[in-house]
C-alpha cells in the first residue's frame, strides 16, 4: 500500500517538477544571458492558462486552444519585452525587481479586468480524460500522464535546441559570458529577444497544460514564480541541466514530503504531534532544502562557469 502510494506521489512530483522546469527554463536563460531578474515570468504562466481558457471556450477544443495559445503567449512575451523589459537591461537588479513587480500588479489586475475575479475552469480534453491502470489496482489520470509526457518531450527538444544548434550555442555562450559573445559580433539584444520570447512561450505552455487540472485565477503565477526561482537558484543560474534536475528534485521533495512527512515524523514523535508537525513542515520543506543547498554550495548545484 505504502509503495503504491509512494509511486503515485512520485508521479505527481514528476509532473509538478516538469511544469516547474518549463517555467524555470525560460527564467534561467533570461537570467543567465542578460543578468535580468524577471519577476513577471510567473504572470506569463498565468497568461498562458487564461489564453487557453479563452480559446477553448471559443473553439470548444483544447487542442485548437493550445495551438492558438502558444503563438499568443509568444507574442505577448515579445510585447512585454519591447514595452518594458528592454529598458531595464542596463539597470541594477533592484530596479528590475521593482519594475517587474509593477508588471505583476498590472497583469494580475488586468486578467481580473478582462475575465473577472472568479476562477475559470477548463475542461479536460475528451481524448485524455479518464484514468488508466498503471499497475494492478492502481488508477492514474491519463491527463496527468499526458502532462508528464509533454514535459519530457519539451525538455528533450529544449536540450537538443540548446546543445546542438547554433542558436543554442550562442545562448549557452551568452549565459557564460555575454560581453564576450557580444564582442564577437553577435547581436546580443536580438539573441535575448529570442530567448525571452521562447521562455515566455514555455511558461505559457506550462500554464496552458495545467489549466484543466487547476483553477485558472488571477495571481496563480505568483507562487509558482517563487518556486521557479528556487529551482534556478538551486540548479545554478543559467544552467538548463541544473534547472531540469533541480525542478525534478523540488517537485519530488514537495509532493512526496507533503504525504510522507507526517509518516516519517511518526517514527520519532507521537501520532498527533507527528501529523501536526508534518503538516507544518511540509510546505516549508523546499525552502529548507534550498537554504541547505545554498549553505553548502552558495552558487547552486551546477553553476555556469564564468
Amino acid at each position: 500500500m505504502n509503495a503504491t502510494l509512494l509511486f503515485v506521489q512520485a508521479l505527481n512530483g514528476l509532473q509538478f517538477g516538469l511544469i516547474l522546469f518549463l517555467i524555470a527554463a525560460g527564467l534561467t536563460l533570461v537570467f543567465g544571458v542578460m543578468d535580468f531578474i524577471n519577476l513577471a515570468h510567473g504572470v506569463q504562466y498565468m497568461v498562458g492558462a487564461y489564453l487557453v481558457a479563452a480559446f477553448s471556450a471559443w473553439t470548444g477544443s483544447f487542442g485548437w486552444a493550445l495551438l492558438l495559445a502558444l503563438p499568443s503567449a509568444l507574442a505577448f512575451g515579445l510585447l512585454l519585452e519591447v514595452l518594458v523589459f528592454r529598458h531595464l537591461y542596463d539597470r541594477d537588479h533592484l530596479d528590475q525587481v521593482l519594475a517587474t513587480f509593477g508588471v505583476i500588479l498590472f497583469l494580475n489586475q488586468g486578467v481580473k479586468f478582462v475575465w473577472g475575479a472568479a476562477p475559470l475552469s477548463v475542461p479536460v480534453p475528451e481524448l485524455l480524460s479518464g484514468s488508466i491502470e498503471i499497475a494492478s489496482g492502481l488508477l492514474y489520470p491519463v491527463y496527468r500522464l499526458a502532462i508528464i509526457a509533454a514535459g519530457l518531450v519539451v525538455a528533450a527538444l529544449l536540450y537538443a535546441l540548446v546543445n546542438h544548434t547554433r542558436v543554442g550555442m550562442l545562448v549557452r555562450a551568452g549565459a557564460s559570458n555575454a560581453a564576450m559573445v557580444s564582442a564577437l559580433g553577435v547581436n546580443i539584444q536580438r539573441l535575448f529577444m529570442i530567448v525571452f520570447g521562447f521562455g515566455a512561450m514555455l511558461a505559457g505552455f506550462a500554464g496552458a497544460m495545467v489549466a484543466p487540472i487547476l483553477s485558472v485565477e488571477p495571481g496563480m503565477g505568483d507562487n509558482i514564480l517563487i518556486l521557479a526561482f528556487v529551482v534556478i537558484v538551486i540548479g545554478g543560474i543559467g544552467s538548463i541541466r541544473g534547472a531540469f534536475l533541480a525542478a525534478l528534485l523540488i517537485g519530488l521533495v514537495d509532493t512526496v514530503g507533503r504525504s510522507f512527512a507526517p509518516n516519517l515524523l511518526r517514527l520519532v514523535l507521537d501520532p498527533a504531534a507527528a501529523s501536526q508537525t508534518g503538516r507544518a513542515i511540509a510546505p516549508m520543506l523546499i525552502y529548507i532544502f534550498m537554504a541547505a543547498v545554498l549553505f553548502f554550495r552558495p552558487s547552486g548545484l551546477f553553476p555556469v562557469k564564468r
Binding site: H93, D95, F101, G102, I104, A280, Y287, L294, F295
Partner: protein, 343 residues
C-alpha cells in the same frame, strides 16, 4: 550588487551634526497631524491612515539600513513584520497582554531569526542573497499558515490592543498615534546614529568594496550580520505596532508581495537616506489609498459606470506607475528634491 553600489551612492553624511530640513518638516507634519485630523472631522480615518504610514515608515527605514547602506537586498523583510505581529498575537492569546513583555519578546525573536538566517544568507552574494532571504521569508509564511492553534490561514483577531504597563491607554487612537510617532522618532534617531558611527561607515565601506575593507582589517561579515540583526529588530517592532493597529495578525503580514512593497517604499523614497524611507512609505500608502478616488475624479469625461470600473481596477494604473517611477525617477523622491533645477 556591485552595480547597485555604483548607481545609488548615498551621500556621505558630514561628521558634524547639522539640521536637515526634510526630516524636520516630516516629523513636524506627523506631530501636527492629530490637530488637523480633529479639525477635519474624519479623525478616526486620518489617524489610522497616518499611524499605518508611520508603522510602515519604521519597517521601510529598517530595510533601508541594510539595503541603502549595505546594498543587501533582503526580499524577506516582511517576515519580521510577521514575527512582531505573531509575538503580540500569540502572547496575548496566552494572557500576556502587556507591551512591556510583548515588545522585548518580539525584538528577541526577530534578533534570533535575523542572526540565524542572516548568518546563512550572508554566505551568498547578489541574486542568491535576494533569493535566499526570500526563501526564509516564505518558510515563515508557510509556518504561520500551518499554526492551526493560532488561526492558521485565517489569522487571529486580537481582543484588544496591548496594555502599556498594565493600563489600556493604547485603546485610544490618539495615544496609539503618539506611541507610534515616538517609536518612529526613536528608530530614526537610533538609525541615524548607527549610520553615522564607525559601524555605519564600515558598513558603507563594505558596500563599496568588501575586499578592500577586509584588506584594511575589518571583517565585513560581522558588520553586515550586525546590521541585518538591527534591521530585523526594527522591522519586528513595526510588526508589533502593525498588529496593534489592525488588532489582527495573519500570515498575510509576510507574503513575499509585502516584502516587495517594503523594497519599493525604500526605493520610492530614495535609497540611503533614512527619512527618505519614511517619505517612500508615506507616498506608497497614500498612493494606494487615494489612487482609486483620484482615478474616479480625473476620469470625469467618462460615464459613471466606466469611472467606477476604472477606480475598481486602480492597480492597473498603479503597476505601470511603479514601472515609470523606476524608469524615470532614479534616486526616488529624495533624489528629486536634492537634484538642482535645470534651466
Amino acid at each position: 550588487m556591485t552595480e547597485l553600489a555604483e548607481t545609488h551612492a548615498a551621500p556621505m553624511p558630514s561628521l558634524r551634526p547639522r539640521l536637515e530640513i526634510v526630516p524636520i518638516l516630516l516629523f513636524a507634519a506627523f506631530a501636527a497631524a492629530p490637530l488637523l485630523a480633529m479639525a477635519s472631522g474624519a479623525e478616526g480615518y486620518v489617524l489610522s491612515l497616518l499611524t499605518r504610514v508611520m508603522i510602515f515608515g519604521i519597517a521601510a527605514m529598517a530595510l533601508d539600513l541594510i539595503l541603502g547602506y549595505g546594498a543587501l537586498v533582503s526580499f524577506g523583510h516582511a517576515a519580521f513584520l510577521g514575527i512582531g505581529g505573531y509575538a503580540v498575537g500569540i502572547l496575548a492569546s496566552h494572557g500576556i497582554e502587556d507591551a512591556l513583555v510583548q515588545v522585548p519578546v518580539a525584538l528577541a525573536a526577530s534578533a534570533l531569526f535575523a542572526l540565524v538566517t542572516g548568518a546563512i544568507s550572508l554566505r551568498t552574494k547578489g541574486v542568491y542573497f535576494i533569493m535566499i532571504t526570500l526563501a526564509f521569508g516564505q518558510m515563515l509564511y508557510f509556518l504561520a499558515t500551518s499554526l492551526a492553534a493560532y488561526g492558521g490561514d485565517d489569522g487571529m483577531t486580537l481582543s484588544s490592543r496591548s496594555l502599556l504597563a498594565g493600563s489600556s491607554i493604547l485603546e485610544s487612537d490618539f495615544a496609539f498615534y503618539w506611541v507610534c510617532l515616538l517609536c518612529l522618532l526613536g528608530a530614526y534617531a537610533f538609525s541615524r546614529s548607527a549610520v553615522a558611527s564607525r559601524f555605519g561607515r564600515v558598513l558603507r565601506g563594505t558596500r563599496e568594496n568588501a575586499v578592500r575593507m577586509e584588506a584594511i582589517g575589518f571583517q565585513p561579515f560581522r558588520f553586515q550580520l550586525m546590521a541585518y540583526v538591527i534591521s530585523g529588530m526594527l522591522a519586528g517592532l513595526a510588526g508589533c505596532l502593525l498588529a496593534n493597529q489592525a488588532e489582527f495578525v495573519s500570515p498575510a503580514f509576510m507574503t513575499w508581495q509585502r516584502s516587495g512593497e517594503l523594497i519599493f517604499m525604500v526605493v520610492l523614497g530614495g535609497l540611503g537616506s533614512l527619512h527618505g524611507a519614511i517619505v517612500g512609505a508615506a507616498a506608497f500608502l497614500l498612493l494606494e489609498e487615494f489612487l482609486p478616488e483620484l482615478l474616479h475624479g480625473l476620469s470625469f469625461f467618462l460615464s459613471e459606470e466606466a469611472r467606477a470600473h476604472l477606480a475598481e481596477n486602480w492597480k492597473m494604473v498603479f503597476g505601470p506607475l511603479l514601472i515609470l517611477i523606476v524608469l524615470f525617477a532614479r534616486g526616488g523622491i529624495m533624489g528629486l528634491l536634492r537634484r538642482p533645477r535645470h534651466g
